[in-house]
């Protein structure tokens, strides 16, 4: 379950890197914002009397994806595009700063933003046992939603004109422009999709853990980026694989190694380091050959 959420965040990182060669370090806080946007939408829908869980949840997902997706586009226009010709370090600093601004803004402006917030439980309760393992309907629903999101992104990128434009820009922005691809529009679209996926991950996190907190994006961002790096920055399937692998390593190290719960992050990030040393391009990343 952990891996699924990491995967959704990691896909955003990998899309941004693929298209613009940037590491968007406020993406973790965009994920947090997605959870808060979803919570606000659910509270609003509850107040308006739209209480049917399925309807409320669908509308909350739609609202959160829209708001957070547009904010992602705004973040790109404010912190990434103006620095396109600067050193990558400037973009890194700008996006890190934006993340801090988002985090502190939620703390200050969201009602009692310092506190963890209970997230409404709208997924079916109960479950069943399969081979001694307790399986909850809620977990199955979360997996299904995450899978649906990933399949949709795959279809968008690989089977639509829009996706072809994204792939073209990722491959060679100048050539793509010469072929009539609207570069700015494609970049906006990529940030909308990536941020929308983070919004979905945020709501799923709320549904799974029953609470959200304004600091949740800090570790979410670092892990999401690491997962994307393990999988191979720029490769969507790699990001998904990286997310699942990271979650699995964390859980297994906590469960199987003596005192492992203290070292779960140490083990997981050691694996990241190992990958960066042994296979810097990640599991599914392509080797880049630079022509001179």
């Amino acid at each position: 379950m952990l891996g699924v959420m990491y995967a959704l965040i990691a896909v955003g990182f990998t899309l941004f890197f693929g298209v613009l060669d940037v590491i968007h370090f406020s993406h973790g806080d965009i994920f947090m914002l997605g959870a808060f946007a979803g919570l606000t939408a659910l509270a609003g829908l509850g107040a308006a009397g739209l209480g049917a869980p399925a309807v409320a949840l669908a509308l909350a997902f739609a609202g959160s994806i829209l708001v957070v997706g547009l904010l992602g586009v705004l973040a790109e226009r404010m912190c990434v595009r103006p620095l396109a010709r600067s050193s990558p370090l400037m973009t890194l600093l700008a996006t890190l700063s934006l993340g801090l601004v988002i985090r502190e803004a939620v703390l200050i402006f969201y009602p009692r933003g310092a506190d963890p917030k209970p997230f409404p439980q709208l997924l079916p309760a109960g479950g069943f046992e399969l081979g001694g393992v307790a399986i909850r309907y809620e977990n199955l629903a979360i997996l299904a939603i995450a899978l649906l999101a990933m399949v949709t992104v795959d279809l968008l990128i690989n089977h639509t004109r829009m996706g072809a434009a994204i792939r073209a820009v990722a491959q060679d922005p100048e050539a793509a422009q010469m072929m009539g691809v609207n570069l700015d529009g494609t970049v906006d679209l990529t940030f909308f999709i990536g941020s929308g996926l983070a919004a979905i991950a945020g709501i799923l996190s709320g549904l799974y853990y029953s609470e959200i907190h304004f600091v949740m994006g800090v570790s979410g961002g670092v892990i999401g980026f690491s997962a994307a790096a393990i999988g191979g920055l720029g490769n969507v399937y790699g990001a998904i694989l990286g997310g699942l692998l990271f979650g699995m390593v964390q859980t297994l190290s906590a469960a199987l190694i003596p005192r492992g719960s203290e070292f779960r992050d140490v083990v997981a990030f050691a694996v990241v380091m190992l990958f960066l040393i042994v296979r810097p391009s990640g599991i599914l990343g392509e080797k880049r050959v630079e022509r001179v």
Binding site: L2, R136, E138, S210, V215, M216, T251
Partner: protein, 403 residues
């Protein structure tokens, strides 16, 4: 580390709040007030980050004490405040402590909710000679690990707290087996150490101890391991946000055990966030409940009147008392750091809203009482007043034992 309030900002904000509350505030001294010498006090606590709710409650309580003091006509000094955020992080806390202590205008400080920050800054205050009264951190070494005259603590330590918590769980409630999860900060580790010690002394058995990083999101692996050991109690040594996650995930994973925490989870936020999962949770806090003390009702009313956005939380009254003790000392010996530190260290039988405060030779308040709380219908209820104690309801852990 950020300065969130400064004297000028505070004055303006206080004016607005005071107008609503009908209190005469720092920003509007009378004729006599205008001639008073100004003394600056520092407040340091976690105003951002995972434990911000406790820090904000402490800050508000500190500001309330200063507002009330400035409104008195007979005081010798006018008090200004410097509020600093330690983010519950040692490095940030040291920066905040350096900022406060290097300002000669700051005579004393009401400092730190988190043990990791309080222990990290002890030497900073000592080197600067600035009196610092801890208002929330419970690690024993903060007062017992040195002989610095500058450091005092108005709240109790985790030693007394765990003694009571372990004896209550083993001897009163009859639980025998425990699985411990704690955060890996000094706070969590030390709590686990003392709790283990007292549980074993009381005749209980610790089946498993697991450390987890502070602000960890997922406890499925730790709880699954604990579940396999079939403990009667899952004990958590850490703060509210993580405590909420452990309890909520316990229920989701079907861990049928009593949940018990430390003073770190005794906050309104725990009940609000964990919602129905909070029911039957046990927590222990030093001192008697604020509303049960002679001055407690007045404090809660004044706090409500002042219109603060955030609740005072469990340790707000301690910050309020610390501010008052510091101001009492300044009124008596003048705004001199060394004299104030010496005066505070000798505090005996001070009458406060948390009861009489008396420091031992280490500057540690010898709090005689540890209160036991149980979460009942979304509120922390003193164990003795609860329906669990009267037998009307049964604690989840006892119910599971019977099944």
């Amino acid at each position: 580390m950020r300065t969130l309030f400064h004297d000028r900002v505070l004055g303006r904000r206080d004016l607005i709040k005071g107008a609503a509350a009908g209190v005469v505030l720092a920003g509007r001294p009378g004729r006599a007030g205008a001639q008073k010498k100004t003394v600056r006090l520092a407040f340091i606590g976690p105003l951002t980050g995972g434990t911000a709710s406790n820090g904000l409650g402490g800050r508000n309580s500190f500001l309330l004490a200063v507002q009330e003091r400035n409104a008195e006509t007979l005081v010798k000094y006018r008090y200004e405040t410097e509020v600093l955020d330690d983010e519950c992080k040692p490095t940030v806390a040291v920066q905040a402590a350096l900022k406060a202590s290097s300002d000669p205008q700051v005579v004393a400080g009401v400092t730190h909710y988190c043990s990791v920050t309080a222990i990290a800054t002890v030497d900073t205050y000592h080197k600067a000679g600035m009196p610092a009264m801890v208002w929330g951190a419970v690690l024993p070494e903060i007062t017992y690990g040195h002989t610095h005259v500058e450091i005092t603590r108005v709240n109790g330590t985790m030693i007394n707290q765990n003694n009571v918590a372990a004896n209550f769980a083993v001897k009163t409630l009859g639980f025998k087996t425990f699985a411990l999860i704690h955060d890996t900060t000094d706070y969590g580790r030390a709590h686990a150490k003392y709790f283990t010690e007292y549980v074993e002394k009381a005749g209980g058995k610790i089946l498993l101890v697991q450390g987890a990083a502070k602000d960890q999101k997922d406890y499925a692996a730790e709880l699954t391991r604990a579940k396999a050991e079939r403990p009667e109690v899952i004990w958590y040594g850490g703060l509210t946000p993580d405590g909420v996650r452990v309890k909520v995930q316990m229920d989701k994973l079907g861990v049928r055990a009593q949940f018990q925490g430390t003073s770190g989870i005794k906050s309104d936020t725990f009940n609000e966030t964990a919602a129905q999962s909070a029911e039957g949770t046990l927590a222990f806090v030093d001192g008697a409940p604020t509303e049960k003390l002679p001055g407690g009702k007045r404090f809660l009313e004044a706090y409500a009147k002042a219109g603060f956005k955030e609740p005072a939380e469990a340790y707000g009254p301690f910050a309020y008392v610390a501010a008052n003790l510091v101001m009492d000392a300044i009124e008596e010996v003048g705004p001199d750091r060394a004299k104030v530190a010496a005066k505070l260290k000798r505090t005996k039988s001070a009458d406060t809203i948390i009861g009489p405060v008396e420091f031992d030779e280490h500057g540690q308040n010898t709090v005689p009482l540890i209160s036991k709380y149980v979460s009942q219908d979304g509120k922390w209820v003193l164990w003795e007043d609860s329906e669990y104690a009267s037998g009307k309801r049964t604690l989840p852990g006892i119910r599971f034992k019977k099944q």
